[in-house]
């Protein structure tokens, strides 16, 4: 949207939204906007305020203060208009167990104003999209949790609303069902605005072009997942080289972006290992490689571990409370990695061993 350079109409606008339950502040001055056609992941740990925010947007709860607009309508003053524009899948999908799936969907379509002949078509389209045709004649109370979740999704889709709000649509599903729901959401992105809440990060990264992170009721981050991760989380640099640890430390400290006080060093049999954090966005690996080569130091390992969304999420939610733990958080896969082959490094080692010996 933004990258194309024109302004997309805002479908969901939240300004300073606050929701209190007695003394508990569930949502505290949260603001964000979602444009038409965006698929936005709404992230946060359990109890962060996701469901509360969603319930305010759907008109189920009133806001204590602040503004929430959906499709240009105030959720409090024009609740009915807002509800006409929303397809909502609640976290726990509650469906009347004594109705058949198709009966339930017909009822919901009628409730949402889908009329006459169109209704039959709308119901079968929603069932096809959610992949529940095979259970159409079954009683809702007799189908599995995964199917029930998809019946809920079909319910959200049935009136073909411009905005879809899905509250943890994949919770409690097996990997295949999860995959299916992700595919449905991806397909929906073509013609709908989707707000997709989850605490499963991989899923959000797969599906959403943008994430909004909320923690303890406050907004912690808003942006494209990759950008957010790169911009605001420290990557960790690790180097293993055959030299004195003091030398390695000096070289690394001269690099731009290195956070000096995070350096940890070990020295064993003339091989020094160093690890430290680098500032968000910085990548000193090329420079470090060049300098080590200049100094004729044999490099065994040199890599920059970029943080994953998971680490980022951790750092801005739980990590805030446990900075120390964050320091040992394990990265999943290195993106920039220079790792010399053992045979080659042995050769360099030998050469540099001489050089080091000479220096000593």
């Amino acid at each position: 949207m933004g990258s194309l350079g024109y302004r997309v109409p805002t479908m969901i606008r939240v300004v300073d939204l606050t929701k209190r339950f007695g003394p508990t502040v569930a949502v505290d001055k949260v603001s964000f906007e979602i444009g038409r056609g965006e698929v936005v992941g709404f992230l946060g740990p359990n109890g962060a305020g996701k469901t509360t925010t969603i319930r305010v947007l759907t008109g189920y709860h009133p806001a204590t203060s602040g503004l929430a607009e959906v499709a240009g309508f105030d959720v409090h003053k024009h609740s009915l208009d807002v509800r006409k524009h929303i397809g909502y899948l609640p976290q726990e999908v509650p469906i009347y167990p004594d109705l058949r799936v198709v009966e339930y969907l017909r009822y919901r379509a009628e409730l949402k104003g889908v009329r006459g002949k169109e209704r039959k078509f709308a119901v079968s389209r929603a069932m096809a999209k959610s992949g529940i045709e095979e259970v159409a004649r079954k009683l809702v109370g007799q189908i599995s949790h995964g199917y029930r979740q998809r019946v809920g999704l079909a319910d959200a889709l049935v009136a073909n609303p411009p905005i879809l709000i899905l509250d943890e649509p994949t919770s409690g599903l097996d990997p295949n069902q999860r995959r299916r729901i992700k595919q449905v959401v991806r397909d929906l992105a073509q013609e709908h605005t989707v707000l997709f809440s989850s605490h499963i990060l991989g899923e959000v990264q797969d599906v959403c072009s943008r994430v909004i992170v909320i923690h303890r009721g406050t907004l912690r981050a808003d942006g494209a997942p990759d950008q957010l991760v790169q911009q605001s989380t420290r990557a960790s640099l690790s180097v293993r080289a055959r030299c004195a640890s003091v030398v390695l430390r000096e070289i690394v400290l001269m690099l731009p972006g290195v956070v000096g006080d995070t350096i940890s060093l070990t020295d064993r049999d003339g091989v020094s290992s160093l690890s430290c954090h680098v500032e968000p966005g910085a990548d000193p690996t090329t420079q470090l490689g060049a300098r080590l080569q200049d100094a004729a130091i044999a490099v065994q390992t040199l890599r920059l571990e970029l943080p994953t969304l998971e680490e980022y999420f951790y750092s801005i939610t739980d990590g805030l409370d446990h900075q120390a733990e964050q320091a040992v958080a394990v990265g999943v896969e290195a993106e920039t990695e220079i790792e010399t082959e053992p045979a080659a490094s042995d050769v360099i080692d030998d050469q540099n061993g001489d050089a080091n010996g000479g220096q000593q």
Binding site: A63, R83, P90, D98, L111, G152
Partner: protein, 255 residues
């Protein structure tokens, strides 16, 4: 009103597929059938005036049970079940007015109740068969008796909807409604005693007279007399409790 009709249809479907409905209907007609056949034997034995037959059938136990117990059982699930399972969330985030939900649900309960009652007219009609009693039962009193019954049950069902909207405990909703129904049927005597010297007050007396369900029924409706003030009392009561139900439902949208 589209939302109310959709709700009505769905609720009636739910009543139709619920075993509880069929158990109520079965028990009601089992008990009522045996009671009515007892009355028939009585009439035959004592050669009583067959035209008094309808009035005799109103006072049987199944009528009282129907008024005392059934409204609570019919309406207990209305909102309490939705609240318990959480389906109230999907209902209240659907594009229909809260008032449509309330009216749809109450109407469904009332229609269901009427469907339970109506076949009992055939028990009266049996008397008119030439080779049976060949009675000439006049339509007027029967109509007004059934009208009175519908007004009363509509009133109790409206209260039942309200009670159900206050809690997520289905049993509690049923018990509260049953207690209320009991108070409406039997509460006048207790109230009269509790009032002490206030019982001579004009307004208290008039209000109690309107609330005297048994008196209204046996002295007026069952005799074919329709008193508009009584009709207004029941309709007003229906409106009042439906309004309270709506308030209870819509209050969660208010800041």
């Amino acid at each position: 009103m589209r939302g109310a009709i959709t709700t009505l249809k769905k609720e009636l479907l739910s009543y139709a597929v619920s075993p509880v409905s069929w158990i109520i209907a079965f028990l009601f007609y089992l008990i009522r059938g045996s009671e009515v056949s007892n009355i028939v034997y009585g009439f035959a034995m004592f050669r009583a005036d067959v035209n008094q037959f309808p009035a005799a059938t109103y006072g049987v136990n199944s009528t009282f049970n129907m008024v005392l117990l059934v409204p609570g059982i019919v309406t207990m699930r209305c909102f309490a079940e939705e609240r318990r399972t959480g389906s109230i969330e999907t209902l209240m985030t659907a594009p229909l007015r809260d008032s449509e939900v309330v009216i749809g649900k109450w109407l469904a309960a009332t229609v269901f109740f009427a469907l339970l009652w109506l076949p009992s007219v055939f028990l009266l009609h049996l008397m008119e068969y030439p080779d049976y009693f060949n009675a000439d039962i006049s339509f007027g009193p029967v109509f007004s008796a059934y009208l009175g019954m519908f007004l009363l049950s509509g009133f109790l069902l409206a209260f039942g909807c309200f009670a159900s909207s206050l809690t997520d405990n289905v049993l509690l909703a049923a018990i509260v409604t049953i207690l209320f129904s009991g108070a409406m049927v039997n509460g006048r005597g207790i109230l009269l005693q509790a009032l002490g010297e206030w019982r001579d007050n004009y307004y208290a007396r008039e209000l109690l007279a309107k609330m005297d369900v048994q008196g209204n029924f046996s002295n007026w409706f069952a005799r074919g007399l329709i008193d508009t003030s009584q009709v207004a009392f029941y309709l007003g009561g229906i409106g009042f409790f439906l309004f309270l139900t709506w308030t209870s439902l819509t209050s969660r949208r208010l800041a």
